[in-house]
């Protein structure tokens, strides 16, 4: 029985796919440089599949991060034809060739497509991304009650997978590594607008400081870059409003 889905209408013909990948090996190179590859792939295959074909059958030293391969784990954000995206969420048929692939910008490149994610996670941690409750309130025996409307208020920002596509698409972040960046503000939003959270004021104070939300110049790059479709710029604007008028 054909359980493997080969040779069908949905996945039929292979084409030549040309790629230009920015390579950098810190043990050998002083500067990054592009290398060209051609692999065979079907139009419905993911860019990640093409990168695997290079790594598995041509140049095993190509370094990239990936795991789930369907846009959920957030490992493989890259600059693809000049725009931030997940390599597992863009298909060959939708990409102009040669496909240029570069590491995301604004974070130190460790090797090839791998960047140092620690500064990104530090920005995330700076906004205290966890539910803050009032110590004087008794822990409930059952669940806290939250209306469907209150739950919907922060739904969009719960989708974040911390892939850094938004933050590393932001021109302010490129210029100023101290800026907490869109992803951190998205995660602050997720709690500030959660009716169960009591840490709003604390977070807004952090985000009102010089490296906080007011650095944003609404370039909207982040919203375009988000592979989860989060309205990032809108969330940042809501956080700014909350900080200005103390309303959330």
């Amino acid at each position: 029985m054909g359980m493997t889905g080969e040779d069908t209408e949905l996945s039929s013909h292979e084409i030549d796919v040309r790629l230009r990948v920015l390579r950098f090996n810190p043990e050998k190179d002083t500067e990054p440089h592009f290398e060209d590859y051609t692999v065979k792939a079907q139009p419905m295959e993911r860019l990640l599949d093409c990168l695997h074909k290079i790594k598995w059958y041509e140049d095993t030293s190509l370094a990239l991060r990936r795991s789930c391969a369907h846009g959920i784990c957030g490992s493989d954000a890259m600059v693809i034809n000049g725009e931030n995206a997940l390599a597992c969420k863009v298909l060959v048929k939708d990409l102009k060739q040669p496909i240029t692939v570069e590491p995301i910008r604004g974070l130190p490149v460790m090797k090839d497509l791998i960047v140092d994610m620690d500064p990104f996670f530090q920005g995330y941690l700076a906004v205290k991304p966890w539910l803050i409750t009032d110590d004087h309130e008794r822990e409930p025996d059952r669940e806290r009650i939250q209306s469907q409307e209150d739950r919907a208020r922060y739904d969009d920002t719960t989708k974040c997978i911390l892939c850094a596509a938004c933050t590393t698409s932001c021109p302010i972040f490129w210029a100023d590594e101290e800026y907490v960046g869109p992803a951190a503000i998205v995660n602050a939003h997720r709690f500030i607008f959660d009716s169960r959270d009591r840490g709003g004021r604390e977070r807004l104070e952090i985000l009102s400081q010089k490296d906080g939300a007011f650095k944003c110049r609404t370039a909207f790059n982040c919203t375009y870059a988000c592979p989860r479709g989060i309205k990032v710029t809108k969330a940042i604007q809501e956080v700014k409003q909350a900080a200005l008028f103390n309303r959330f």
Partner: protein
């Protein structure tokens, strides 16, 4: 370079089980989490549909009904003491996650909402029940994020992108682990009083799988090579709704919300296989039904080789709000809009019921007689408690990781606080250093990716939804040949920084071990039970086979099988009908 660290507790893996354990251990003793991925990359984040608990927020329910469904769903191979623990603690576990901030969907009166899921019924099978607590179709994402948030709040120490290579054992006592730092190529010795493995599954041995590239059985692989047993390896779950050609999961929640499976005639064929709960029958039964529909010529599509998941009668509002992610998967990867047309699906390798044998406190079993490995724990998919028996019910994996992750964290902290740091051998990482050095030497021209690709095809064709003595015999011969080919391969890239060729190479070695263990155990079990279906032995045979398998690697490279009785309880085996 070799660096040494000392901790009370070391947890390997940062998915739901590892993080839940870390929350408990971290509050009680000096704890480190070692993970080959950044924690939020873990595959718990891909779980979609929900986490069952008898909250009775929407419909009448009880934890005993949940326990019955779990045992029956597991085709009576589950250990019933462990099932009771899980289903009883489920309620508090869900409430606790809500208190940690998990954004569950809500009922109109603001309680945690619940929905139907495969195999979960009211009053011992009368009808489907709304038991799954959920957050849209990204419940696992929310669990992973919430636990990661809490670990950060508690200041848990993470070693991200460290790959486990060995367990330190001295006279049967666990004394830590050896890990490879992917960023630098350095080896690290983590000395610890207690160690917990939460490394996830090994679905990457199959061609079509919902599993991440990184799910390669690292934890069970280390255990197996240390001469410790693995339990119930023949039981691997195929989820009935993986995207055609890709295996990406479309949650059972789709059917919970009303989606229907159809063959090429448009027939709702599950009515023939499970007249009471139809499309919401357990996964093993639905996957088999799909297999036979396709085999008998009723598959859809030009090659009649897939089934259609029909959501066109589900309210588009429900699709967009309660199933947004899976809808997007179909649109992105197959260019198909589920609101308008059926989605091509096939069974996809999804979940390992088997793994490192543990008891209800997550203590690893040294043998089938129940001896424990002092200081060593396991939880989550890499472990086999066994709550899932021969077939796991949907949502019970998220429950398993939270319940037994918590129990494991508590138990390992208690053990660490009562014991001294054990002695370990001198130069504990020397053999690992030599092993790694050898991977660069000699070898032929073959790329290991060819070996992996062949392994995945062999396992898919000969050891998946339907098996026979003949298919399993062929699979074993092939796996053994593939092991020889693998041993001939060498690592080409000699760099130290982010050498992901070496990590992938080692992962493939673990996968070959897992495949061998699965095939040997499956070949021996001459009956059909849950996820293990033998076309040449179609009946369940309780007189002979109501027992767990324990497979051990012998010193000469062979395998040995032992068996252990199932822990029974309130439920006696009956014929499994839905």
């Amino acid at each position: 370079m070799i660096r040494t660290h000392e901790y009370d507790a070391v947890i390997v893996g940062a998915g739901g089980a590892g993080l839940r354990a870390a929350l408990e251990a971290g509050k009680r003793c000096k704890t480190a989490v070692v993970s080959k991925l950044y924690p939020t990359r873990s595959h718990t984040g891909a779980a979609q549909g929900g986490m069952c608990a008898a909250l009775a927020n929407v419909e009448e329910d009880s934890w005993e009904w949940h326990a019955f469904d779990t045992v029956k769903g597991g085709d009576f191979l589950s250990d019933q003491d462990a099932v009771d623990v899980m289903c009883k603690e489920a309620v508090e576990s869900v409430l606790e996650l809500e208190r940690m901030g998990l954004p569950f969907n809500r009922t109109p009166d603001g309680k945690i909402d619940q929905r139907r899921f495969g195999g979960h019924t009211r009053n011992h099978g009368e009808a489907a029940v709304k038991r799954a607590c959920y957050a849209a179709d990204r419940t696992g994402h929310m669990i992973l994020q919430t636990l990661y948030q809490q670990c950060n709040k508690e200041g848990v120490e993470f070693f991200s992108e460290y790959f486990v290579l060995d367990l330190i054992l001295n006279d049967g006592v666990c004394g830590g682990i050896i890990a490879y730092e992917i960023a630098t190529g350095d080896l690290h010795v983590f000395r610890a009083k207690s160690v917990l493995f939460a490394t996830g599954g090994y679905g990457k041995m199959f061609k079509i799988t919902s599993n991440a590239h990184t799910l390669t059985g690292d934890g069970p692989g280390v255990v197996y090579r240390r001469g410790l047993p693995l339990e119930d390896m023949e039981f691997f779950q195929f989820h009935p709704t993986g995207l055609y050609g890709l295996g990406i999961l479309l949650s059972e929640a789709a059917r919970g919300e009303g989606a229907i499976l159809r063959n090429s005639d448009g027939e709702r064929f599950m009515e023939r296989y499970a007249p009471t709960i139809k499309d919401l029958a357990p996964r093993d039964m639905v996957s088999r039904a799909e297999f036979f529909e396709i085999k008998e010529g009723r598959g859809a599509g030009p090659n009649k080789d897939y089934i259609l998941l029909d959501l066109t009668d589900v309210d588009p509002e429900v699709i967009e709000t309660k199933l947004p992610d899976i809808t997007e998967f179909a649109r992105t990867y197959l260019d198909i809009d589920p609101v308008k047309e059926g989605v091509p699906i096939v069974p996809t390798a999804h979940y390992a019921m088997g793994g490192i044998p543990t008891n209800i406190n997550a203590e690893v079993q040294a043998d089938h007689a129940g001896a424990v490995v002092s200081g060593f724990y396991a939880a989550g998919e890499c472990a086999c408690v066994s709550v899932h028996g021969a077939n796991r019910l949907g949502t019970n994996s998220l429950l398993d990781i939270v319940v037994f992750g918590r129990r494991g964290g508590l138990a390992m902290a208690e053990y660490a606080n009562a014991n001294k740091l054990p002695d370990i051998p001198e130069e504990p990482a020397k053999h690992v250093e030599d092993w790694l050095a050898g991977l660069f030497e000699g070898g032929g021209p073959e790329y290991p990716a060819h070996v992996r690709s062949r392994l995945q095809s062999v396992m898919m064709d000969k050891a998946s939804v339907v098996r026979t003595e003949e298919s399993l015999g062929e699979a074993l011969t092939e796996v053994q040949e593939l092991r020889k080919r693998y041993d001939e391969c060498r690592v080409r890239d000699r760099s130290k920084v982010y050498n992901t060729e070496i990590t992938e190479h080692i992962e493939l070695g673990y996968l070959i071990d897992m495949a061998e263990a699965l095939v040997v155990a499956a070949r021996a079990r001459t009956e059909s039970r849950g996820g293990h279906y033998r076309e040449d032995h179609q009946m369940r045979e309780d007189d002979h086979w109501l027992k767990h398998s324990f497979i051990t690697k012998t010193a000469d490279g062979g395998t040995k099988l032992d068996y252990k009785d199932v822990t029974m309880g309130r439920y006696v085996p009956v014929e499994r009908k839905y």
